[in-house]
Assembly symmetry: D2
Homo-oligomer: 333 residues x 4
């Protein structure tokens, strides 16, 4: 498979090495509207470059497009690539607005191609294993979710595209929190109610929330809470699911989030507390696992895990959370 990447920033640099090392995928071209950025990235990864993404998505010699740009242009690029017959892996959040997300899904369904949303967290080994355990019934019916996901922001954050409402889909609640939304939906099913509180607590030079908390109720009765934070001065990822017979928790994501660990416990009203802890030491493997899933889905002609539909569903929930806060009323989905 021959691949073009649009965007030459952090995500490009994360994904390019993975696809180059993959047996059957070749990195052909990197596009960026900044010609020098594109050229520098292309030199690093030994491929062509372009400052015109439109022409790239039209190239006949490409099978796959990776959209690694800010959300504001996701929809436009993804739609163009799908319409040009490419399979697309588009970063999260899928788009900037719900309307865009719906349009992307429509085009995708007509296209017959594979569309994956960049929910790499589903591919962290501890999270994947947690999911398999829950599916296997290990903790009984799951009914509680908690996700605390935060990062220590950076000086100059106000100059990033993340702080620009025209480019970002929202503040930290959607930028980082969309992973929490996606994971909770994956584990607990469709959401029926959401409420939310957001705030700009520290990064006052920009207009988007740096902290967002939400409560969710699910159709099957589960309840969950999320906190996404840009003022988590020590990076934290903590994801917990409780069920009738036990619980699973994932702490850490490797790298700056600390060793990724899966913790499994069971309900026992009499024994001392006991947990099984698995450590996934070493580098973050999620990018590689996500690529594998995407490529395999293309080969098998099926929807990938974390599909365009999942991307749109997470958007719907996250934007409903904002709407709940605006209106002061719980939003029912």
């Amino acid at each position: 498979m021959r691949v073009g990447i649009i965007g030459s920033g952090l995500q490009c640099r994360r994904r390019a090495p993975v696809l180059r090392e993959w047996p059957d995928t070749d990195l052909v071209v990197i596009a960026s509207r900044h010609a020098d950025h594109a050229r520098r990235a292309a030199e690093q990864f030994g491929c062509e470059w372009s400052d015109d993404w439109h022409s790239v998505v039209q190239r006949d010699d490409l099978d796959v497009i990776l959209v690694c740009t800010p959300p504001g242009v996701h929809a436009e690029m993804t739609i163009a690539a799908l319409e040009a017959g490419k399979h697309v892996l588009c970063e999260k959040p899928l788009t900037r607005t719900l309307e865009e997300a719906q349009r992307v899904v429509e085009v995708w369904r007509r296209s017959g191609r594979v569309l994956k949303c960049g929910f790499n967290h589903r591919h962290h080994p501890a999270i994947g294993e947690a999911y398999r355990l829950v599916q296997s019934g290990r903790i009984g019916r799951p009914f509680i979710g908690r996700c605390r996901y935060g990062i220590c922001g950076r000086p100059g954050y106000e100059n990033e595209w993340r702080a620009d409402p025209q480019q970002a889909a929202g503040g930290q609640f959607i930028e980082q929190g969309i992973h929490a939304v996606d994971l909770l939906r994956w584990f607990l099913g469709e959401v029926s109610e959401v409420y939310c509180m957001t705030a700009i607590h520290y990064f006052h030079k920009q207009p988007l929330e740096d902290n967002g908390m939400a409560l969710l109720r699910f159709r099957d009765g589960a309840t969950a809470q999320i906190h996404a934070s840009l003022t988590q001065w020590k990076n934290l990822f903590s994801f917990e699911i409780y069920g009738e017979d036990g619980y699973v928790a994932v702490e850490g994501l490797g790298a700056s989030y600390g060793t990724e660990r899966l913790i499994v416990g069971r309900r026992d009203f009499t024994a001392p507390f006991q947990e099984t802890v698995t450590e996934y030491r070493g580098a973050d493997r999620s990018w590689r696992e996500e690529w594998k899933e995407f490529v395999t889905a293309i080969r098998e002609g099926r929807d990938p895990m974390g599909s365009g539909e999942d991307g749109a569903a997470a958007m719907r929930i996250a934007l409903a959370a904002y709407e709940a806060e605006r209106s002061g009323r719980v939003v029912r989905l």
Copy 2:
């Protein structure tokens, strides 16, 4: 000071040894409507017993009454004791209803006596130290609070008074969560908005929620989240406050909640993550510290930390949370 205790259950057994060991306080009598319970407790602690709490609060030779009964009778007993000129330490939650709480506060203010609500958590050494650090400006303006507080419920829970709406002020959200509400209010100030989701996830044989989650906004702009759970299969107390310049967290409360630890970190955009961790190993000292504060407040003729007013304020917030869920609208206080 001569002390009578009403109620002969767990809280009586926790508080009686503390006050007996205290230099200037004597346990004189334990009252319970179950004569045999009262007698057994009195034998254990070497004091008188009674099955008539009314006569106990009227005794001229008592200075202090401890109300260690279920919330449904707190107001009645506390009011009677205050009107009889006694100082009162009443277990949390202060009362079963907001109306009762307001009445208790009125009687108390007229009485000129000391009324303390049994918010022993303020007296845990790690929590107290965290509070002093925040007050001293160590973490700058505090703006985020998180509290996860849960316990592994028990078979037969449905037979406890906690499961009876006539005796309890609410389910787990208020029974255990009232501590979280009180602590967050202590650290972050008055609450301006609250939303909540509760559920009966596991303990279906009784009518009160076994899980409650809330979002709170404070007058000074801080936001916070709470989860109180009876299905936390491994007992957990985690209380975190984030501010402009750092954070404090308390994990554990000793005994079945694990070693009590205070964690302090600072915002540093460049250095590796660093935390100072203090362990308060050994037995739970909060009961002794709370008793000390109560006795000292009596001696000094001042309001104690965690006064009747604090007890009523926490009730107001917790009951507003229920109201928010019922109405589907955020409640503004």
Copy 3:
């Protein structure tokens, strides 16, 4: 069973409540050569007192004697009690010298009574469970032992009996380290070789080592290391056994040593590291479990776990370690 305790210090105060709460054992008398100490302890625990231990061990109405004095008088008291037909629980180390230990064992064997050495560590729940797992073959043949056991010493240590060579059997290596020796011997079998290095690193006002490290080789080939320290500024108990197929470790002993935890892992050359962690939160239960074993052994007329023989064997190893250091040669046992 009617019990007398000789010694009114810390161990008396630890053991007296346990035996009083036990269904079939009564505390009859506490003896100390300091009449006022004896009287005060007796008042606290509601029993008789004496300042003449000789007469106590001769009392016909006692079945059991607890020797809770410094090691220098263990042999004399234990022998007198055994010869008077009493069952004896004697604190560790069993005696001050090896000759005394051998004499105690001889008298004991002739007496037909039960003699237990106060190796309460065998009765910590995590250690007991670790032992059962190793016995069951869970980690295959065990071949490595490590024990780090240290405490933060106290100002004025030089004034304690522990710092007096006429009362203590040795310094920290034997005082605290004898538990490590006993546990390693319990788990790994008889010792064949030992070497040791001790030092006075901090507590210079007294003549006994405040740190001792040893290497041990066992008849079955296992090797082990011990470090006993009085300069472990944060109290530590860490006991690890590795075998062909896995390992068990115990961290903490409750109270000032932190939550007692059992950690179990297995050898797996391919999977990510996985451990099962059991937490024994709450108070130290070893004293109660040890009492249960002692009483049961008396009732069943059998040797208790941690018998007089075990006490003598641990002495032999610990004193051989000192001898190795003195001579600069490994000591073969």
Copy 4:
């Protein structure tokens, strides 16, 4: 600076990327007696290759030689490179025998070049910071050292050069343990006494110890213990130094040893236990820091940290430990 690497195995692959990314150092050639190994590594790193290390060390266009081969050929290669006027970074242990180590040091001292031994552990950020703290007096006079360093061995270990006495300087005690020896000597000074016990506990198909434990006494009075293990089924690095006023500890080394953490505590006879914990999350930076030190030492014409002399001193201690075990007598240095 122009660099040639001898050896194309794991260490070559670790060091090559570091020196390529370094501003002033160029990787020119990789040599291996296996031509295909050399060629493959050279292709990966974009440099020349050779199957004749003799000719490589003679090249006039090279300034630096890295010796990344098994210890059995370290001395020969290092001496040839030094005599050809190159600066040398040689992997640990410096050589296979003490005689070789002494010869290497002699040649080095005559050569006027820089010789560094590959003690990368000194360059781990937590270890470096611990060293600075100890040097600054933070823990007072240091007097206790402990190092547990172990790895989960591999099936087929018997086929590695590590299992071949002609290529390795010893078993696990020297292969991995030499880092512990070097670090303890760095922190605590020169060693005066050593004793040791080694064993083949699990990897029986080869002749070298898979576990080695040692006791060390230092000239300044400190004592220390080491355990190096190939049967540490969960990789562990734990390095602890205790002094009069406190302690420093390093846990983890990143990657398969888990997040690298620096723990600092102080002696306080009255306060609750308190530690400051710094986490160095993310990739292992020691290789880069070591390269920086080597290059800087060359530029400044000084001995590097972890010089040839340090390499020889560590060998002397480690081989004395073996001698102690053989003779059954402590070895005094």
